[in-house]
């Protein structure tokens, strides 16, 4: 049981280090066991060090940094043992445009090994999808779903330059 755990833990930790470095453009992260001799008696800590910074408490990371850390953890497991599908609801909402695009590229890449369904309002994310659905609310309060082409989302999510007023 312990050897089984070690094998999985080591593989996922390797993935996590690599993927976090990729998502954070050179940051360092790892999964640290509280009790390496008896893993089942302790927990597992996530340590993340964004680029050019010291390691600090996870709570003190910024919103975007926390999101990247959480996503790196999900992808690290997915690369070792993919789930049949992934359903992610606006996981890009704290991300700036550059990080949102990096994450979308990684999801696109990972979607070769597992199915990803992602709800997003950010155009920089939607442009990487293979297929696009738009959900709208009819005047009677019921939802409708239509398949969309990328250029059709202009109205829903396009960040329009201010009309000259």
């Amino acid at each position: 049981k312990k050897t089984g755990f070690y094998k999985v833990y080591t593989a996922i930790n390797e993935n996590f280090k690599r993927i976090y470095a990729e998502l954070s453009d050179g940051g360092e992260a790892e999964l640290v066991l509280e009790n390496p001799d008896n893993p089942f008696e302790g927990g597992l800590h996530i340590k993340a060090k964004p680029k050019n910074k010291k390691v600090i408490r996870l709570e003190s990371l910024s919103g975007g940094e926390k999101s990247l850390t959480g996503l790196a953890f999900i992808f690290a497991i997915q690369q070792y043992d993919p789930s049949p599908f992934y359903f992610l609801d606006e996981v890009d909402m704290f991300l700036d445009a550059i990080n949102a695009e990096i994450v979308a590229k990684v999801i696109k890449k990972n979607s070769a090994k597992a199915q990803f369904i992602m709800i997003s309002l950010r155009k920089v994310t939607l442009q990487y999808a293979d297929r696009l659905y738009g959900v709208t609310l009819e005047p009677n309060g019921t939802s409708k779903v239509v398949a969309l082409e990328l250029d059709q989302i202009k109205d829903m999510v396009e960040e329009k330059p201010k009309e000259e007023s």
Binding site: G4, F5, K7, V8, Y9, I12, L31, E34, F40, G42, G43, L44, H45, A48, L58, E59, L61, K66, S67, G70, L71, F73, I74, I77, D81, S83, P84, F85, Y86, F87, L88, D89, V91, M93, F94, S111, A112, Q115, F116, I117, M118, I119, S120, L121, L126, Y128, A129, D130, R131, L132, Y133, G134, V135, T136, L137, G141, T142, S143, M156, V157
Partner: protein
């Protein structure tokens, strides 16, 4: 194995029977605030998580049933189905597709106020059978592959070190 289709009827803002098909790869869902995007992920959690508290933002299970919207009549039951491609037989059923269906009906005579029904490939099933099938395929409403809106930072903020270790236990 992958998720081929989500079917909903009278589930939150999805009133008329609707079917959304999915392929492998990367599918994105977008739309205005309040249009019903997160309600789709609630439908997935509703089917996969009979006992999970994550499923509903609402208080009671019956809050998931279409409430009538602007002027319509509230419905008396809601139904959701997930159809998985099972050609690799991840779910121990000898069929290329597995359809998991859950229905909740308002039932004033029942102490909880509603009844829950489960179906596997349109044949009546039980909660226990449902849970066994899902456990085999290692999918559940509480697993890390479903991230609800606003939850992405909770892996880092709210989960305890033991919670995180348990995710790895589940895979080992």
């Amino acid at each position: 194995m992958y998720l081929k289709e989500i079917q909903m009827r009278n589930f939150k803002t999805f009133t008329k029977p609707i079917s959304i098909t999915f392929e492998r790869g990367f599918t994105a869902v977008t739309g205005p605030n309040g249009s019903g995007k997160s309600n789709i992920s609630d439908a997935v959690l509703f089917v996969l998580g009979p006992k999970s508290s994550r499923v509903i933002r609402a208080g009671k299970l019956t809050d998931l049933i279409f409430n009538g919207g602007k002027e319509g009549k509230p419905a008396k039951e809601c139904e959701c189905s997930l159809i998985f491609d099972n050609t690799d037989r991840t779910i121990p059923i000898d069929a290329d597709e597995v359809k998991l269906t859950r229905v909740v009906k308002i039932s004033p005579s029942d102490p909880s106020g509603y009844n829950s029904y489960f179906y596997v490939n349109d044949k009546k099933s039980t909660l226990t059978e449902f849970e066994e099938l899902l456990a085999n395929a290692r999918i559940s409403a509480d697993s890390y592959n479903i991230v609800r809106q606003g939850d992405i930072t909770s892996i880092v903020e709210k989960m305890t070190p033991v919670d995180i270790r348990r995710i790895i236990d589940g895979i080992a």
